[in-house]
């Protein structure tokens, strides 16, 4: 196996160097690099896409497409401080937008298809929450949905969210407050009591 030897281990620098090295290899379509990128990021990309779509099959399809599109454009990726995940999320945002536009063009029936996974979760309350949460999320603007997904689904800190969304940290803080307020209103309208606890429904 090709492994770099650890000599003078400086976590911060070495992390950046590793990421840069991986990005450079990815840009040359090094398949081992892409295998690692896929394994490192699929889960987050799926979660990001899934937060925007009700259909898990469509989410799986789109999450896979993100990597295929990224691979096909590998040589265009410019690693200069831009994390690979930011690039992947940018592609995911575009694919999701296109998917939603197509779904809207196809008509309301397409949008109304509901395929949550009761068999997997085995938790009816959880499924209802997910369904209502998805509906509540759809009342938010595109940017609001993105900030919610990055901050609370992917647990990204404000600084990274700002980088990923190409905004200032203050702008992200304002956006997250507005997004959470809007989400709270939508969930309240759906009958959820959101004051004082996040787990119930």
């Amino acid at each position: 196996m090709r492994e770099l030897e650890v000599e003078d281990h400086a976590p911060g620098q070495s992390g950046a160097t590793d990421a840069e090295s991986l990005a450079r290899r990815a840009a040359t379509r090094d398949e081992a690099a892409w295998a690692r990128i896929f394994d490192d990021h699929f889960r987050d990309i799926y979660a990001f896409v899934r937060s925007r779509l009700r259909d898990p099959t469509a989410a799986e399809d789109l999450a896979s497409q993100v990597f295929e599109v990224a691979f096909s454009r590998a040589e265009t990726f410019d690693y200069r401080g831009l994390p690979i995940q930011a690039w992947l999320i940018g592609i995911a945002r575009n694919l999701v937008r296109d998917h939603i536009k197509r779904a809207i063009r196809r008509g309301p029936e397409e949008e109304l298809v509901e395929t949550v996974m009761p068999a997997t979760t085995g938790d009816v309350a959880g499924v209802e929450l997910r369904t209502d949460l998805a509906a509540a999320m759809r009342t938010l603007t595109d940017d609001q949905q993105t900030v919610i997904a990055l901050r609370f689904l992917l647990d990204k800190p404000v600084s990274e969210t700002a980088r990923l969304m190409d905004r200032s940290e203050d702008a992200v803080k304002t956006l997250q407050r507005r997004a959470l307020a809007a989400l709270h209103r939508a969930l309240s309208a759906a009958g959820y009591t959101t004051a004082g606890g996040g787990g119930g429904g």
């Binding site: 770099l4 394994d39 490192d40 799986e60 919610i148 901050r151 803080k173 959470l180 996040g198």
Partner: protein, 413 residues
């Protein structure tokens, strides 16, 4: 940035409503944080979905990579074929193209196995292991028998059950469950259950916010990987005395190694476990040996301590701010079932050895059941990792490593 933005940011950072929030602001903040809680709740089921989707998605991506490697001659044939989903205009050309593509797929599949065979995901936590994992607390919620703590670690999200008997320590002394807050760095030591949640025996808290670790799928270390240097990310003692160790390579990959018992004991004895830099060596039967690259922490075999009782608090020296279970090593002066008195560098320390303590006897030949009686350990060097008893401040052992017999050091130097 508005005042409410600042208050919300502070609340999300600390998990507590800022003291200067007015009652109206507090209500608004709590509502917003509750909405965020709904989103976080959904993440668990989304994670289940993504795990189920991963194999198919990976296979699809493999096919995309394989397709990208088609030779030029075949690529031309493919390019000449109509887009998928449309009927072929020239069946003869299509037949040739399909044959070529099929051949390329076979070759590509064979080549791809070499790449993706290393992406052999493995579970770092197996039921029955005593695991030590480092991470960052993301959520704490009350449960019937204590608290459920969600921890983001490099090996994935870990659910931890903390009961009233769980020992909680910070860098100085005993701590309490109230100190376990989202954002704080933590080391968990406990037994993995059938649901792969960890029943915590000890929780060690850091003094500052932790950084969310980079995540990656854990792959199984292979014999060909021997010779690499890596860092220990998680350490689990299995019931048979071997260890399941997740190593992070220089390139950030996470690799699971089953480590022979002797190496596991040496790592524990060194005092450096999580975060230790090791050199991986091949051993027998698919197991690996680890050689420590860092200097071990000092032991009393070289620096005997005085026979005094250390002041209240942790009897071990700690690197600043990082979470770490209590770690002591020394000479057993006295032993009885459930309790040992150990002479350490800093003095005489009382150690509780409750049921469930994992004993690593290594090559000493000591019977583990007898070791737990205490007396057979008198005169031996031992290493203890664990927590502190909230009332007595005695060290509570999670792991007890039995070493060689030693001459009793001269007291009171």
């Amino acid at each position: 940035m508005d005042r409410i933005d600042r208050l919300l940011d502070e609340l999300l950072e600390t998990g507590e409503v800022p003291a200067d929030a007015t009652p109206d602001e507090r209500a608004e903040l709590e509502a917003m944080v509750a909405a965020a809680g709904f989103v976080r709740t959904a993440r668990e089921s989304i994670d289940l979905e993504s795990r189920a989707a991963l194999p198919i998605a990976r296979a699809r991506f493999e096919r995309a990579l394989a397709a990208s490697r088609r030779p030029a001659t075949v690529a031309r044939a493919s390019a000449a074929s109509p887009p998928s989903g449309r009927p072929a205009r020239f069946p003869k050309t299509l037949g040739l193209a399909l044959a070529g593509v099929a051949l390329v797929f076979v070759l590509a599949f064979a080549a791809n196995r070499a790449i993706f065979s290393r992406v052999d995901t493995a579970s770092a936590l197996e039921p029955g292991d005593l695991a030590q994992v480092e991470g960052v607390v993301t959520r704490v919620e009350p449960a019937a028998d204590g608290h459920r703590i969600h921890v983001a670690s490099a090996i994935g999200d870990v659910v931890v059950h903390a009961s009233p008997s769980t020992s909680i320590v910070d860098e100085h002394d005993v701590s309490a469950i109230e100190a376990v807050r989202p954002g704080i760095a933590i080391v968990i030591s406990g037994v993995v259950g059938d649901d792969r949640a960890i029943a915590a025996r000890t929780l060690a808290l850091g003094s500052s916010r932790g950084e969310l670790p980079l995540r990656a799928a854990v792959q199984r270390l292979r014999a060909g990987d021997a010779g690499m240097n890596a860092t220990v990310v998680s350490f689990s003692l299995t019931p048979d005395g071997t260890a399941r160790v997740v190593l992070q390579s220089a390139t950030g990959r996470l690799l699971l190694a089953v480590v022979e018992a002797e190496s596991a004991a040496r790592l524990l004895e060194s005092g450096r476990v999580l975060g230790a830099r090791v050199h991986v060596e091949s051993a027998s039967a698919g197991r690996f040996a680890l050689r420590l690259l860092d200097d071990p922490l000092p032991t009393p075999s070289s620096t005997p301590g005085p026979e005094v009782t250390p002041p209240p608090g942790r009897p071990d020296a700690l690197p600043g701010g990082l979470p770490s279970p209590v770690h002591i090593s020394g000479l057993v002066l006295a032993g009885e079932p459930g309790e040992l008195t150990i002479l350490t560098i800093r003095g005489r320390v009382r150690v509780e050895v409750p049921d469930g303590t994992r004993v690593v006897a290594g090559a000493t030949g000591i019977d583990i059941t007898r070791a737990l009686e205490g007396r057979p350990l008198v005169g031996r060097l031992v290493v203890v990792r664990g927590g502190l008893d909230a009332e007595t401040r005695a060290v509570v052992a999670d792991i007890l490593v039995v070493g060689r017999e030693a001459e009793r050091p001269t007291p009171g130097r």
